[in-house]
């Protein structure tokens, strides 16, 4: 009798449990959607947990990748040692070749200083950089990465990130131990630039926009222009987000209405990058400086 009662209770409860389970899934999916919308905001409620988790993950990556660094540097050391004779020979030849170039550079620098003095020209140049590691990858919709330094390392929102070749992007979000870098190839990235024509030497103001592909798109350039393939693109310094004269890339393709630019930096492939720490104002040159 008791067994029959138990069986009937189980039969009665099972559909209810199934319904509850199904509704839980629906409720959780709806809840996830709400969280997804909230997480898009820059409210501290959303940013705090996000940066906290990122901090942990970036530290984990950093620890996990350090043995690989050691292996790579050991391999590099062996490789350097085996090629030391050849390197020495090549360096001697290079040194001879650059003697003349360095003298010409010195002359150009002196001339530049005199011209700056004549124009009372004030400029800003990158003063110091921090070398950091980039971890984490990009996806279909975003082009970003994380660096292993945060507020504790003196990183601030808006700082500019470069590699040995050119501009990478800007720090968008900072945690205590990590920061998120949005690359110039991200669809939301816009950088004011100058296009320097190789043929005419003319400079055109324009905007470089990311489009989530490996090429950047040049926008808002003059209708009449002499832009050609291979022309250099530099940051213009307008808008005060990016300092001037950082190499962005070069013109790769020219269409009827669209100009594609190949980034100079190895976006997404580079892992050791530099965060521009401080900009310094170069005052107009004085006679003393020129003499020095």
């Amino acid at each position: 009798m008791a067994k029959r009662n138990n069986v009937s209770v189980v039969h009665a409860i099972t559909p209810i449990l199934t319904m509850v389970r199904k509704s839980t899934v629906l409720v959780l999916m709806f809840l996830s959607l709400i969280i997804a919308f909230i997480s898009q905001s820059d409210h501290p409620f959303a940013v705090g947990p996000r940066t906290f988790v990122t901090d942990i993950i970036v530290v984990m990556y950093d620890i996990a990748l350090s043995p690989m660094d050691n292996i790579t540097s050991a391999a590099q050391a062996i490789s350097d040692w085996t090629g030391v004779y050849e390197d020495n020979k090549m360096l001697r030849e290079n040194a001879k070749a650059t003697e003349n170039i360095s003298y010409r550079l010195w002359l150009a620098e002196q001339e530049n200083r005199r011209l700056r003095q004549a124009l009372e020209f004030t400029d800003m140049v990158p003063f110091s950089v921090r070398t950091v590691r980039m971890v984490g990858g990009s996806d279909l919709f975003r082009r970003h990465g994380y660096i292993n330094l945060g507020t504790r390392g003196g990183i601030e929102k808006g700082q500019v990130v470069i590699d040995g070749n050119g501009l990478i992007g800007r720090v968008q979000e900072v945690g205590q131990l990590s920061a998120k870098v949005v690359m110039i190839s991200d669809i939301n990235s816009k950088v004011p630039v100058l296009v320097v024509s190789q043929d005419t030497g003319e400079r055109y103001k324009a905007i470089i926009a990311g489009n989530n592909t490996k090429f950047l798109s040049l926008q808002h350039f003059p209708v009449e222009h002499s832009i050609g393939i291979g022309d250099m693109i530099l940051t213009s310094g307008d808008g005060e987000f990016f300092p001037p004269d950082i190499l962005v890339g070069e013109v790769a393709r020219i269409g009827r209405e669209q100009i594609s630019v190949e980034p100079a930096a190895h976006l997404n492939v580079t892992d050791i990058i530099h965060v521009i720490d401080k900009m310094v104002v170069i005052p107009p040159a004085t006679d003393e400086l020129v003499e020095q």
């Binding site: 997804a36 947990p49 990556y61 984490g136 919709f141 492939v269």
Partner: protein, 171 residues
């Protein structure tokens, strides 16, 4: 005591295993512009939803999805939705799939992954108000489909005892 600990470990193993794979999937490989990893989380959800559905609870899926989004810098919650959706899809076809040979399971996995990744794409486009077309999603989908048999074998090998226990219970 050892048995209790062992049982508990078996219960939480899939979550730990998938968390580790999610972290691995976030590593940048310096050979391509975009990290060429398969979608480990969805493959794992498919595997455990099919062979041991009680191990990954709906709340575990929610946390796993959110963890995935945080690691990859996506809007938190999107992957939780697709993980829950995939779990529901597998659950609805489970009785059929368990009786079928492996190639049918593989085919079903490929179809379901494609469907949830399309949903993922639409959700992301809606949330970010952008439409982006490049080969990344296709590469990820193809890799996930191609590597599922290997993933399946590894999970079977790691989880075999537990799996045997579950199938015996359910049989």
């Amino acid at each position: 005591m050892v048995q209790i600990l062992s049982d508990r470990f078996i219960r939480i193993f899939p979550v730990i295993f998938l968390c580790a794979l999610i972290v691995v999937g976030g590593i940048r490989l310096q050979i391509m512009e975009i990290s060429p990893w398969p979608h480990f989380m969805l493959m794992g959800v498919f595997f455990w939803a099919l062979y041991s559905p009680n191990v990954l609870s709906t709340f575990s899926l929610l946390w796993l999805g959110m963890f995935f989004d945080m690691v990859h810098g996506l809007p938190v919650g999107v992957s939780a939705i697709i993980a829950l959706l995939l779990n529901w899809m597998v659950d609805s076809q489970r009785r059929f799939l368990l009786k079928e040979p492996f190639w049918v399971v593989w085919l079903a996995c490929s179809l379901m992954l494609t469907m949830v990744m399309v949903v993922n794409y639409l959700l992301m486009a809606l949330l970010l108000s952008t439409v982006s077309l490049d080969s990344h999603m296709a590469v990820m989908m193809m890799l996930s489909m191609a590597s599922y048999p290997i993933f399946h074998r590894i999970c079977m090998a790691l989880y075999f005892d537990r799996l045997q226990y579950v199938t015996q219970q359910e049989g």
